[in-house]
Amino acid sequence: MKMTPSLIILGSIVVFAPVLLIAVILPWVTISDAPSEIHRPRTGIEQEGRRIYVNNGCTYCHTQFVRNIDWDLGAERVAQSGDYIHDRPHLVGTARTGPDLSQQGGEHPDDWHLAHFINPRHTRPESLMPTWEFLGMERIGALTAYVQSLGFKSADYRVQRQNEWKRKAVEAFEAGPEENVRWMHSMVPEPCTRLPNPYPTTEADLKRGHRIYQGFCIGCHGPIGDGMGPAQPHLYPPPLNFTILKDRGITGGILYYQIMNGITGTAMPYFKRELESEKIWAVGNYVAVNFIGQSDAGGEPRGIAASYEPPRQE
């Protein structure tokens, strides 16, 4: 084959054109633009928040598609092509330095996002997400509106649920500690409220609890458990001051359930995705021993001792 400039240039175009046709234009015209069952158009402020998301490169750390092998945020709904029909540019993403955000809406109430955007370490002590305080309140508001819309109609449902419970939580908080504690505990299913922590307090257990507390709770509840962590100024109702739980019928079971399930409507997130059972008991007991000063760990009623347990003192 004798290669000449025109052969190379024309040849390149002859190769390029069909490839563009097959690999880009064909899918472009054949992919359906029918909306998925959760899709809805974005509002003006959500669109504005999306712009801020694009301009500040959130997409380099966050994907917006859930795969069928996922366990993290949003794993309940695998992505569909119909979710993206209005996305320009697409924000599918290629890296999960942070979690997937495609179902972020309603995962947390707005005040959690405010604290988190101002400084992610406020609510997530070991985060490596950048701080966004420089954006100013208005743009953080738009960004929040956008992330709260991720998941479209499912997000709207979750956001609405957050708002409903927020109203009740605020009401209880404003009625004073006695009423607040009563209200929070009335939300815990009864068998749990009577369940003591089945595992006795050990040195190792408290150490583990400490480690978990530092990594997950300290930004809100604070180093001494008084609810005065750095996130506190942005959250309402503010993080719980654990000392008010003393002599108010607290049990290991209540702590376990609240940490596992969170308190929707408040900034208190659920930890069931991130902490296994042992870790939840451990951090609960750490809070009970160190901040509440009352622990029922290893108390009655309890079942057969787990095989690792040290001898019980009768």
């Binding site: 899918p27 301009n55 697409h90 599918v92 330095t97 950048p130 420089f134 995705r273 991130e274």
Partner: protein, 458 residues
């Protein structure tokens, strides 16, 4: 004034490209170090300074490295290879310099606007519309210059490197034009899943049809000269050339295998990714049979040495590439630092090191004297090689930690503390590359301008 910037002097264009490339290398490396620092300690470096935030610096880093450092270096070499291989002189040095000014100013404007918070959001296509136009214009000017040079050629037979350079310019122009959706100035994108497909057609094309063919052109040029033996086979050259154009173009969807794009497109991209072994191996076998038994010559030449190292990274990248295009592998490797390791191996290890090889090989030929310091170039060689190997190891390891944790049900947040030591080591390795870039800048600057000092250095 302008005319001084566009001074007409033999090989002036190539020299100016090389110097620009060295400057962009320093800039890009500093941006990379900034990002690596953010990832190791998010509030260490000016946490609330908008233009320094991770999300804004990262695209500046990638585009500066791809277009600025590697792209400029490779294009500079092309401005030397085209006239030399065609036995004529460059059609217009002035035009060459003009194209470089348009090119450099576009890259600079792209970086500044990104830091100011104007982005189009798609990887490697973040630059806003006016910058895209500048880049397209620069490519057109370069193409015109090459084309006119070819029209005036004394040599009737076109050497392989010339094929690759022409094809790279044609493909890159179209891929850039379509990939940036230039007809939609505001968004630079189309809508929905088709936009993801288009964006990765582009993202893949930028490394595969801009950097790769130009780097291969340098390898084809340097290896026979440095080893003093003729190219092994014309047929292999032909096969390698046409197959890369056909195959590399349509496999961009392998970046989207886990998203809801049509299955037939995924199948096409996976089979094409495996098929990439054909163009890569024909080129490498062709070059290997050319240099076989003559590695001594190659290593005696500092440029040849860089090119050889780049080719080794090319093999590794292109063995890893097809592997990680397989869905079973991507269950673990997708979305984490594994891919970042691959990206550095392709852009820095392969095309970046070959660009440096081209620069050091060609510099003496365009300045008429040896490079300023052989020793500094040697030090740079080892720093880049060590840095690259370090990056590969630590990022791959980090990626495996992430991928396996996730698949076992650990959430992203839980893996962050596990990731931390890797990210710190990665930032420290970045220091090696930053030093390498400064050494390179000094050496290249002195090779071009330092006539007074160059005589008494080793």
């Amino acid at each position: 004034m302008t005319l001084r910037f566009l001074k007409d002097e033999p090989y002036g264009t190539t020299r100016a490209f090389f110097l620009s490339s060295a400057l962009w290398f320093v800039t890009g490396a500093l941006m990379g170090l900034t990002d690596a620092t953010h990832l190791s300690a998010p509030e260490l470096l000016a946490p609330n300074v908008s233009w320094l935030t991770f999300g804004r610096i990262r695209p500046v880093h990638t585009t500066t490295m791809i277009f600025g450092f590697v792209g400029t270096g490779l294009l500079g070499a092309a401005h030397y290879m085209i006239p030399t291989l065609l036995r004529t002189s460059l059609f217009s040095e002035r035009l060459g310099k003009l194209s470089l000014w348009v090119w450099n100013l576009s890259i600079a404007a792209g970086g500044i606007t990104l830091m100011a918070g104007y982005s189009q959001g798609r990887e490697y296509a973040e630059w806003i519309w006016p910058v895209d136009i500048g880049i397209l214009a620069a490519f057109l000017l370069m193409f015109w210059n090459f084309f006119q040079t070819a029209q005036r050629r004394e040599e009737r037979i076109l050497y392989v490197s010339v094929w690759y350079i022409f094809a790279a310019l044609v493909f890159t122009w179209f891929i850039y034009f379509f990939g940036n959706a230039v007809w939609n100035p505001g968004s630079g994108a189309i809508t929905g899943m088709p936009d993801a497909i288009l964006a990765w057609f582009y993202g893949h094309g930028v490394v595969g049809l801009f950097l790769t063919p130009l780097a291969v052109a340098i390898a084809y040029y340097v290896i026979p000269i440095a080893t003093r033996s003729p190219l092994y086979s014309h047929t292999l050259s032909l096969i390698g050339f046409w197959t890369i154009l056909v195959i590399y173009t349509h496999i961009g969807t392998h970046h989207l295998l886990q998203t809801p794009v049509p299955t037939w497109l995924k199948v096409l991209s996976i089979s094409g990714s495996i098929g990439m072994i054909v163009p890569v191996m024909t080129v490498l076998v062709n070059l290997w049979l050319t240099m076989r038994g003559r590695l001594g010559y190659l290593h005696a030449d500092i440029g040849g040495k860089f090119v050889m190292a780049g080719l080794v990274w090319y093999i590794l990248t292109c063995l890893q590439g097809p592997l990680q295009a397989l869905p079973v592998i991507q269950r673990v490797t997708h979305l984490n630092n594994w891919v970042i390791a691959h990206a550095h191996m392709g852009v820095l290890g392969f095309s970046g090191i070959i660009a440096l090889g081209g620069i050091y090989f060609i510099l003496p030929r365009v300045t008429g004297r040896p490079i300023y310091s052989q020793r500094l170039a040697d030090i740079q060689y080892w720093l880049v090689l060590l840095g690259m190997a370090g990056f590969f190891t630590v990022l791959t390891a980090a990626g495996l930690v992430q991928g396996h944790s996730w698949i076992n049900g650990e959430v992203v947040y839980r893996t962050l503390p596990q990731l931390h030591p890797y990210l710190v080591v990665r930032a420290s390795i970045g220091l090696l590359l930053v030093s390498a870039s400064f050494i390179g800048l000094y050496n290249i600057f002195m090779s071009i301008y330092g006539t007074r000092f160059s005589r008494n250095t080793p």
